[in-house]
């Protein structure tokens, strides 16, 4: 058992990945029209964040309430590239300074700021989508984890970062688009991202990238580093006295989660067509933690379902009862924490998987009687 449970994929994992792949690549595209499919594509961009949170929070015990920061940084890096491409001198001929993004012109800025220049390059922008969040996470990580800030204190500080970044973006309207964000994005290297066909393609690109992140997450969890994270969560001191530099492991996993979130943010920008500070702040950051909690903070697959389900509920409910949604979300979070601390994945593992196993066992050996579960 000890040997088989550390193969990269157990049988359970293969089934889980296969079902998820079928849902994302077959069921959803067949079942939904292109408007709804695009919506689900948007939900799946949050799954990147939720998967990162499973690693940081579920496995490593590092609760970050500021993942929106990394999602936003990734999204803004993508949006800056798309905005520059949309702001050709021809498209912006009516501005007093043609060739710069429209919001800069509205704010009496007459030249492109130097730090916008590199975002003319697609390659630079794609690297920045991952590296800007990772570097920011690295700085926060070094500052916090080396000083052994953890637990609630860390959560509060990350939340403060989410608030700071939102305020900064809104305040620097001329450079960031302010509260409206960066809007009116049109093409990617000449390819119009606003058409239904493009949105469908982007949905699949998003799905493939999500699976790439899931595979990385799976690899990390099944490596010794994954077991170390669990050990750190339970007995941080003991890990130190087994000769590990606990801070460097926390920094690594926090950066990995930030990198995932950055990719999610960039895919959000591409699929939805804008990026704004409302996706960076405290509320979206906490929502992201809820996606992870609902899906099951110990399960990377569960986190994807959590992101899909909560967002789908959000869209459906906020269409009918907009003012009740936030209360409903809070209630959902409390319910999950109180009744199902391991979320959907926990419900599956405790109630559904044993029954399935019993069912299969019954078929193979008709004499076998399913064991009654005390938990039920």
């Amino acid at each position: 058992m000890s040997a088989s449970s550390h193969r990269l994929f157990s049988r359970q994992d293969i089934i889980g990945f296969a079902i998820l792949a079928a849902v994302i690549f077959i069921v959803l595209p067949l079942a939904l029209d292109s408007f709804r499919l695009n919506l689900f594509g948007k939900y799946l961009t949050y799954a990147f964040v939720a998967v990162g949170l499973v690693l940081c929070w579920g496995a490593g015990g590092i609760l970050s309430l500021g993942q929106g920061v990394f999602f936003g940084l990734g999204g803004y890096c993508m949006a800056m590239f798309l905005k520059l491409e949309a702001s050709t001198p021809e498209n912006t001929a009516i501005q007093s300074t043609p060739g710069i993004p429209d919001f800069m012109d509205w704010n009496q800025i007459t030249a492109l700021p130097w730090w916008w220049e590199p975002f003319n390059s697609l390659l630079f922008s794609l690297i920045a989508v991952v590296m800007v969040p990772v570097m920011f996470a690295f700085i926060i990580g070094v500052a916090m984890f080396r000083r052994r800030v953890g637990g609630v204190y860390f959560a509060i500080i990350t939340q403060a970062f989410a608030a700071i970044l939102t305020i900064l973006i809104i305040g620097q309207q001329g450079y960031t688009g302010g509260v409206n964000g960066i809007t009116d994005l049109r093409t990617l290297q000449g390819w119009d991202i606003r058409t239904d066909a493009a949105k469908e393609t982007l949905y699949y690109v998003n799905g493939v990238l999500l699976f790439a992140c899931l595979l990385i997450a799976q690899f990390v969890r099944k490596s010794k580093l994954g077991r170390l994270l669990i050990a750190m969560r339970d007995q941080e001191d003991r890990v130190r006295f087994s000769g590990y530099d606990v801070a460097s492991f926390k920094i690594f996993i926090f950066c990995l989660g930030a990198g995932f979130a950055g990719i999610g943010g960039a895919m959000f920008t591409l699929q939805v067509g804008f990026m704004s500070p409302t996706l960076v702040g405290i509320v979206p950051s906490i929502e992201m933690v809820i996606f992870c909690a609902v899906g099951g903070r110990l399960s990377i697959i569960g986190a994807v379902y959590g992101a899909l389900l909560v967002n789908w509920a959000k869209t459906s409910l906020s269409e009918s009862f907009p003012e009740l949604w936030l209360l409903g979300l809070g209630g959902l979070f409390i319910a999950v924490v109180m009744a199902f601390p391991n979320g959907l994945a926990g419900i599956y593992a405790e109630h559904i998987a044993p029954r399935l196993a019993a069912l299969f066992a019954k078929r193979q050996t008709p004499a076998a009687v399913p064991k009654p579960k005390p938990a039920e």
């Binding site: 490596s223 580093l225 339970d234 006295f241 460097s248």
Partner: protein
């Protein structure tokens, strides 16, 4: 005196730690030779556990020096001290309850301590053989796949000793290794400790005098953060200062 011996493994000199003015350890000096088993005894609050905390970096010293194989330990992080060859067992068993016995031992195996080392770590035949060997030593070979949370108190203590053993430290520090054990477990543990202290230096904090007499090369009696007496068990037991501290309170 002892200071002239160049072959000490550990030299603690003038070690002092003060918590808001209270000196838990006060200008303490002692020297441990290779393969020596040093037992630290003393009344409650004498600073015994604090001394171990200072050596392994868990508590930062106010002043003094801890020299291990020619390296100063006081300015090192806990994990660097461990990698230098100092192992520490805590008073309450601290094992990873969510992991199996096998995984507990595996994490303590001295390889792959960096982030990328841990990612690249593979469970090869050498690791498996070593874990099997240690598990047999600590009487847990049948429980390798059991989660540590399901072990008895005594078995957790053994597991933690095993986790130290697999690190193969040159200096092993044990804080009350037989505390809270049943008589049968205690006997087995004494047997185990006798086996593992052979090829290394050990510092043990222990109250069980029978056990101390059995294993100690030399005994240090601490009182109010200072050395009260030091020497063989016999000498210490007959020291009038020690008798006064133990009986006068």
């Amino acid at each position: 005196m002892l200071d002239n011996n160049p072959n000490f493994l550990l030299m603690v000199e003038g070690l002092t730690v003060s918590f808001d003015g209270f000196k838990a350890v006060d200008d303490l000096s002692f020297y441990v030779e290779p393969n020596e088993c040093r037992v630290i005894i003393g009344p409650n609050g004498a600073g015994k556990t604090t001394v171990l905390d200072l050596i392994c970096g868990r508590t930062k010293a106010t002043s003094g020096s801890v020299n291990f194989k020619g390296q100063e330990l006081l300015n090192k992080r806990e994990d660097q001290i461990v990698l230098a060859g100092v192992g520490r067992k805590f008073q309450t068993p601290s094992v990873y309850e969510d992991l199996t016995v096998f995984e507990n031992l595996e994490l303590s195996y001295p390889r792959g301590h960096s982030v990328f080392g841990a990612l690249a770590f593979r469970r090869d035949a050498i690791v498996k053989a070593r874990i099997a060997e240690i598990a047999a030593t600590i009487f847990l070979e049948a429980l390798l796949d059991e989660k540590a949370a399901f072990l008895s108190h005594g078995q957790k203590q053994w597991l933690e000793i095993g986790m130290l053993l697999i690190q193969d430290p040159e200096l092993l520090m044990l804080d009350e290794p037989v505390a809270g054990m049943s008589v049968a477990e205690r006997k087995k543990t004494a047997e185990l400790l006798n086996k593992i202290i052979k090829d290394r230096s050990v510092i043990v904090i222990e109250h069980d005098m029978g056990f101390v007499e059995d294993i100690a090369t030399r005994v240090t009696v601490l009182h109010q953060g200072k050395t009260l007496s030091e020497g063989s068990m016999e000498r210490v037991q007959n020291d009038p200062k020690v008798i006064e501290v133990y009986l006068g309170h």
